[in-house]
Amino acid sequence: MMTILGVPAPLLFGQLLLGLINGAFYALLSLGLAVIFGMLNIINFAHGALFMTGAFVAWMLLNYLGIGYWPALILAPLIVGAFGLVLEKLFISRLYKLDPLYGLLLTFGLALIIEGLFRNYYGSSGMPYQIPTALDGAVNLGFMYLPKYRGWVVIAAVVVCFGTWAVLEKTRLGATLRAATENAPLVQAFGVNVPRMVTLTYGGGVALAAFAGVLAAPIYSVNPNMGLNFIIVVFAVVVIGGMGSILGAIVAGFALGIIEGLTKVFYPQGSATVIFVVMAIVLLIRPAGLFGKTA
């Protein structure tokens, strides 16, 4: 059998592919965070909790209303996104004039409350969520046995990530949004309702998290702690990509998923730390992150 650095080649390819799948989640989550930070200057610590809420909403739709995976993939982000609009209107919008640390504290508190509520009602073992029948089963790739669903996750994440990037970078709406972050009063002077745009941006970022949550539901059990496991890593990803950089978040998300996957082959104990080591190195060499603009 061919080996690369002492590891059988099929195993290495398999791990790379798995890294890419995890990277898909990192990319989707860090994308939402980057959008929110870029537009609102809010460090949204509630992102992990809202990701988890997305998974739970999908689970509830199925178990209480009998609505399956495919409609949930649209409905759950809409519902959680609407919840995000309420959060923004009620709480977050009051903090724009203050130091970003207040936003961090507020969203962190919201995350604890949301997660605590779910834990109280649903426990921590997780609720099973079946893979949709169309994607059940697996494909034998020769070097590994790839569950069809995981392949779908990568495709869906890539499409959504680059769709979002295209909207923000290539459309008129995106241009207005970016202009509003640069100079809100001037954009407002052109007759654009900036506060409403900001609210919708937050809702959109949250909807992305919920979308990732629905994608994750069949893979990880739907669990109140599922966001907790992601959020810190995803913050590191955003920092590595460059705070507020959309493309940086996407590229860093996939790249770090792969790096983490490789660590799991060579030194599994280090797989929880490797992302932070990369973050430290990146911050030393490029303090603004890989794609960040130096102020």
Binding site: P8, P10, L11, G14, Q15, L18, G19, I21, N22, R119, G123, S124, S125, G126, P128, I131, A138, M144, Y145, P147, Y149, R150, I219, Y220, S221, N223, N225, M226, L228, N229, G261, K264, V265, P268, Q269, S271, A272, T273
Partner: protein, 405 residues
């Protein structure tokens, strides 16, 4: 205020009555039991508040025997420093007499130190580490229900006998997982089997096991040994099924509770072999206990840790009634009395606590039923084999100083 004869007499009478009050309170001693475990993380559903309910059940059934019993509880968050801090505060400030449960071996060992230092009684139920009655045994510690050695011997031994001669482990990277892997490796080697490799994964915080599963698969081993517990085991088994591991490997869940089987679902869990020292549908006693407790821990049924909390607390109360509640403060005396008295309850039947603090109960090897075989709620296990109390656990460990006396 003018002083009249009436007020003078009244206050004199009150003064005469005063010394009597503290004396009356001293006779009515109260005992405080602290339940310490993971109430928010991966082990919440196998212990958590269910263990608190079981301890309270023991208190309620024991009834008033001349002293009050208070039960308090806290979440150690699987962090040894937090667990040890709570234990210290309980003994120093809150007047706790006995700490029970403490799952998560790393926390269990930290609390063990505090109890020894403070002379507080310690009945560990939830942790698996054999160090509690081995290298780190203390005169104030008793270990209930199960341990790593008993799991490794029962499940590991049975798997090798059934032809599972080559193993790959997925192991939680802390004292519990490593020890369970080491103990199982011993039994695999003794039976002529071989361990081909293992992946240590960071605990807590790992939810995706696919990379480790892939490594296991490419090792070519016949058995996948899961040296983990709770939600981690649930996720490992589900993902093993997803990646088609069950076609080429047999899964040995070295520590799996009925609550985990419930989490996985019979469809995926069927055919798994596991070991517990308690099953709700084992005999009339276990069924009677379950019928009383299940409404207090709905929707769950008790596992061996829940039952152990009931049984351990009940035996402690019997020992305290025998010793006299006034002496409950002395953890060593309470634990000595627990060792001197044989145990008996509906969950584990008759048993005894060995000198080093290990409760000797039989271990049962179960197979998880297929969905078609399951007749009702939580009808999950088929009994495959019973290891009698004398053989289920490790012989007294020379590393424990209590075994030299």
């Amino acid at each position: 205020m003018s002083l009249t004869r009436r007020t003078l007499l009244g206050s004199a009478a009150a003064a005469a009555a005063l010394p009597a009050a503290p004396r009356a309170r001293a006779q009515q001693t109260s005992i405080k039991i602290g339940v310490l475990n993971d109430m928010s993380g991966p082990y919440r559903d196998l212990g958590g508040l269910h263990d608190v309910a079981c301890v309270k059940q023991a208190v309620q059934e024991f009834g008033p025997k001349g002293f009050n019993v208070d039960v308090i509880f806290a979440d150690h968050q699987n962090k040894p420093d937090i667990g040890a801090g709570i234990a210290r505060q309980w003994f120093d400030r809150d007047g706790v007499d006995m700490i029970i449960d403490v799952n998560t071996s790393s926390v269990a060992l930290a609390v063990n130190q505090v109890c020894a230092e403070k002379n507080g009684a310690y009945v560990n139920v939830g942790a698996a580490t054999t160090d509690l009655t081995g290298r780190q045994c203390t005169p104030v510690t008793i270990h209930w229900s199960y341990d790593n050695y008993m799991l490794a011997k029962s499940t590991g031994g049975a798997m090798v006998k059934a032809g599972g001669t080559t193993w790959y482990f997925i192991t939680a990277d802390y004292v519990f997982g490593k020890q369970l892997e080491a103990n199982t490796t011993r039994f695999v080697n003794e039976a002529g089997g071989k361990v081909l490799g293992s992946s240590l994964y960071p605990f807590p915080g790992t939810t995706d096991f696919s990379s480790f599963l892939l490594s296991a698969q490419s090792s070519g081993a016949k058995v996948l040994g899961l040296a983990n517990a709770g939600a981690d085991t649930v996720n490992s088994i589900k993902q093993a099924a997803e990646f088609g591991l069950k076609k080429t490997m047999k899964v040995a869940a070295l520590l799996m509770f009925i609550t985990d089987v419930h989490g996985v679902g019979l469809e995926t869990a069927q055919g798994l072999v596991l070991t517990e020292s308690f099953y709700w549908d084992l005999n009339d006693g276990t069924r009677a206990f379950t019928s009383r407790i299940k409404s207090k821990m709905a929707p769950f049924y008790p596992n061996m840790v829940n039952a152990g909390c009931y049984s351990g607390a009940l035996h402690y109360l019997k020992a305290i009634a025998d010793l006299g509640a006034a002496k409950a403060r002395d953890g060593k005396a309470a634990i000595e009395r627990m060792k001197a008295m044989p145990t008996e309850d509906e969950c584990f039947g008759k048993a005894r606590v060995r000198g080093d603090g290990l409760l000797l109960v039989p271990s049962y090897l179960f197979e998880v039923k297929a969905p078609a075989e399951s007749k009702g709620p939580w009808d999950y296990y088929k009994l495959l084999a019973t290891t009698p109390a004398g053989q289920a656990f490790e012989p007294p460990d020379a590393a424990c100083q209590l075994n030299h006396a």
